[in-house]
C-alpha cells in the first residue's frame, strides 16, 4: 500500500466517520465541529487529487467562512442538545432506511457503468488544479458565468439585508 493509498483510506474513513458523527451528535455545536472535520478530510482529498486551489478555497470558504457563520448562528440562538426534541425513532428508522436504499440503489446502478469500470482518477499528477490554470480558464472561458454569479450574490445580499434587517 502506497502512501497515497493509505492517505486515501484514512481521509475517506475520517470523512465518513465525521459525517456520521454530524448526524448523531445531539449538540449542534458538535455537529458543526464534526462537519468541519469532514471538510478538512475532503480538502485532503483535493490535495491528494492535486486540486490545490479547491483545497484551499474549500478550507477558506467552507470550513472558514460558512462553518463559522453556522457556529455563530448556533451560538447566537443558544441552541444545545436539550433544545432539540428528538424525532420519534420510527421516523428516524424510516429516514435511515430511505437514505440507505437510495445509497444502495445508486451504487448498484453506478457499478455497472461501463466508462468508469477501469477508469482512474489521477492522483498527485496533473496540473489543472493549480491556481494559474484555473485562473486562466476562469477569467477567459468562464467569464460569463463568473460575471453572472455576481447577480446571485447581489440578490443574496439584498435578501440578507431584507430578511435580516430589523423593522
Amino acid at each position: 500500500m502506497s502512501t497515497t493509498e493509505i492517505l486515501f483510506w484514512f481521509l475517506s474513513a475520517l470523512a465518513l466517520v465525521s459525517a456520521t458523527m454530524v448526524l448523531i451528535s445531539k449538540n449542534p455545536v458538535h455537529s458543526i465541529l464534526w462537519l468541519i472535520i469532514v471538510f478538512f478530510a475532503i480538502s485532503g482529498h483535493y490535495v491528494l487529487l492535486n486540486a490545490q486551489f479547491l483545497a484551499i478555497v474549500n478550507l477558506i470558504v467552507y470550513a472558514g467562512a460558512i462553518m463559522v457563520l453556522f457556529l455563530f448562528v448556533v451560538m447566537l440562538m443558544n441552541l444545545n442538545s436539550d433544545s432539540e426534541p428528538q424525532k420519534n425513532s420510527r421516523f428516524k428508522v424510516a429516514g435511515t432506511i430511505a437514505g440507505g436504499c437510495l445509497m444502495l440503489i445508486m451504487i448498484d446502478v453506478i457499478r455497472d457503468a461501463g466508462e468508469v469500470q477501469n477508469a482512474k482518477a489521477l492522483v498527485k499528477v496533473g496540473n489543472i488544479g493549480l491556481i494559474k490554470n484555473l485562473g486562466m480558464a476562469l477569467f477567459k472561458d468562464y467569464v460569463i458565468p463568473f460575471e453572472i454569479s455576481s447577480v446571485l450574490f447581489l440578490s443574496a445580499m439584498v435578501g440578507a439585508v431584507v430578511i435580516g434587517k430589523k423593522d
Partner: protein, 111 residues
C-alpha cells in the same frame, strides 16, 4: 486511484447527508447536511475532472481537459456561500419569531 472508489465515497457521503436531512429536526443541522451533500458532489466532480484529465493527458500532456469540472466546483462553492447567507438569515428570522428552529413545529401550513 480507481474512480469507483471516489464515486462510492461520494455517494455514501451524499446519502449520509440525505439521511441527516431526513432524521434531524433542527433546521440548522438539516441545512448543514445539505452542505454535506454539496461537498460530496464537489468531491465527485474533482475526481471526475482528474479522471478526464488523465485520459486526455495520455495523448497530450499539456491538456487542460477536466478543468471545467474544478471550475464547476468553484461555482458550487460560490452558490453555496450565497445560499448559506440567505438560508441562515431565514433561519434567524424564523427563530426570532418563533424562538425555535425545529422543523416539526412548522406545521401551520398543511393539508
Amino acid at each position: 486511484m480507481p474512480i469507483t472508489y471516489y464515486i462510492v465515497l461520494s455517494i455514501v457521503l451524499f446519502c449520509i447527508g440525505v439521511v441527516g436531512v431526513l432524521t434531524r429536526r433542527n433546521a440548522i443541522i438539516i441545512f448543514m447536511c445539505v452542505e454535506l451533500m454539496l461537498n460530496a458532489v464537489n468531491l465527485l466532480l474533482v475526481a471526475f475532472s482528474k479522471m478526464h484529465n488523465g485520459v486526455a493527458m495520455a495523448k497530450d500532456p499539456a491538456s487542460t481537459v477536466g478543468i471545467d469540472g474544478q471550475l464547476f466546483v468553484f461555482f458550487i462553492m460560490v452558490v453555496a456561500a450565497a445560499e448559506v447567507c440567505v438560508g441562515l438569515s431565514i433561519i434567524v428570522m424564523v427563530y426570532r419569531n418563533t424562538h425555535s428552529v425545529d422543523v416539526n413545529f412548522l406545521n401551520r401550513l398543511k393539508n
